[in-house]
Symmetry: C2
Subunit: 339 residues, 2 copies
Amino acid sequence: MTQIGGAMRREMQDQPEALAAMAGRLPGLIAELRGAGVHRRAGLAILARGSSDNAARVAAYSAQVRSGMPVSLLSPSVYTSFGQTTERYGDWVVLAVSQSGQTPEIVDLAGRFREAGSLVVGVTNDENSALAQTASVHLALGVGPETAVPATKTVTAQMLAGTAVAAAASDAQLDPAAVASLGDHAAALLDDASALDPAVRAVTAAGKVAMVGRGFAAAAAFESALKLQETTGILAHGFSTADFRHGPVRLAVGGTPVVAFAGSTAPDADTTALVADVAAHAPALLVAPHGDVTFAATEPEFEAILATIRGQQLALAASLALGLDPDHPSGLSKVTMTE
Amino acid sequence: MTQIGGAMRREMQDQPEALAAMAGRLPGLIAELRGAGVHRRAGLAILARGSSDNAARVAAYSAQVRSGMPVSLLSPSVYTSFGQTTERYGDWVVLAVSQSGQTPEIVDLAGRFREAGSLVVGVTNDENSALAQTASVHLALGVGPETAVPATKTVTAQMLAGTAVAAAASDAQLDPAAVASLGDHAAALLDDASALDPAVRAVTAAGKVAMVGRGFAAAAAFESALKLQETTGILAHGFSTADFRHGPVRLAVGGTPVVAFAGSTAPDADTTALVADVAAHAPALLVAPHGDVTFAATEPEFEAILATIRGQQLALAASLALGLDPDHPSGLSKVTMTE
């Protein structure tokens, strides 16, 4: 018997094993990236779309914090529409992230950056993909086929791959105990979804939600908003907590529910304070190591990964509560996906 | 007699004269920036929050298109929370944008970047502000006091200042005829607001909207969404058109209205096509040189400025239609604005 949402749920459940397996490969991946000279490059440029772009934000923020290197989020249209050249990135790392490794604009641009001298690190789930073959260094996710339309296990594995790139760019080491326990932490979360019930009720009742996070947790907020949009059609807006205070906080005053993601670093304190500030006005839920919905704190990049799993749980539960099929979001195929 | 929304409306009406005055100063500003060596720098880093950040996106995209230089959107928390050093930006331009020139984190960071060797271009509306005094080069907006909470004339002037920075970074010249006519184009828009009535009705009825744009027009989409959030509390989400197709298009299929901003460059064709694709599912309005709501096409940066004025008109009209006071958005001061 086929269960509604069965594919998304199964692929979410694959994450503890997939993350543990990739965590075991991390020291080797970091050594390979250092061997390729990631840490000697002038900056890190990100080439990705959609969930892959959200995942790459972990690498972007982590590289800035760990090494201070400039990070650029590339706009593909600069090259594909305006014919700009890639030469000014000749001494940069370009991190190209695509689950399939087949997205034409990503593959084409990765090749143009490599020709200009960029060190292109490709992250895909298919070792034989065009992007894998174009990249200077390929990091395989190795998480097995993903069949549900909403990407889950590939996203958290991409975040872990991005952590390897950021770690390779700096002299800092990842805590071996944190690396070893990542899979177990993910398994514990997946066994404990009921703490999200109040958020599921608030979000489905309001039909809208603001998702906020700052620093490492911003990636979880953006990705969770996208996941909820895809699975339910609910307008979920991801914000940096600091930007949310510059105007959009008006939304909470008007009753828009707030789901806030925070880990245990200094910027996360701003997010925790925001939840306290808005709670008098709107339903507000804190996904944090010691929040309404908890996850175990480890390295800050891993906090982003675990918080992202919480967002997946919320999207899956909200979709089922609304009687929708999260594996096949209605209507997506009805709109032509031009490039 | 005080008119509700009078300040926001008056400040919007100041734009033709303010933009024309600044346009007249553009050749001198560009020469000053080239004299300071903007075009010899390794990259352009953006330091801004809220509307100023949306305005700076014009400079960010324009610099990439015109010169191919790397652009980095700085995360202040990397420096303020994690204590990272600014030294790797020693050969960059840092564009610091703040209407008041007093935002503590912007002023403090601008100083730290300048100490590291960055060429800090400060853009403020107060020649005596802390940021004006900290910057290597200061570009004064000179648009007079802004009293309404939603920023309008300072935002479009910031976009024009950012255009000067991007132009200075490249060898391309701005079209003198386009520069000379910018104020007149803005005046024509402000005399013609009724084309937005269908959008005002759709957005206020739905209580939500997706605002999309790609390339130069993305800045107009992000800023218009923020303006609508601030004036009405309606959840307005700004998206890059390309990202919108990667999942969030599900929102339109579910009936979320779409307001799309497009100019006349190649990436804008993608936005125009999107509107046609979603029109069968949801109310969709095209703000474009030849769209449902029109504006005159000039340089692409100026298209972003004119489209942004259209977004201001929508926010003002929606606020008044809902019986709200856009000058003083309800509740914003009820929430503590911590830093």
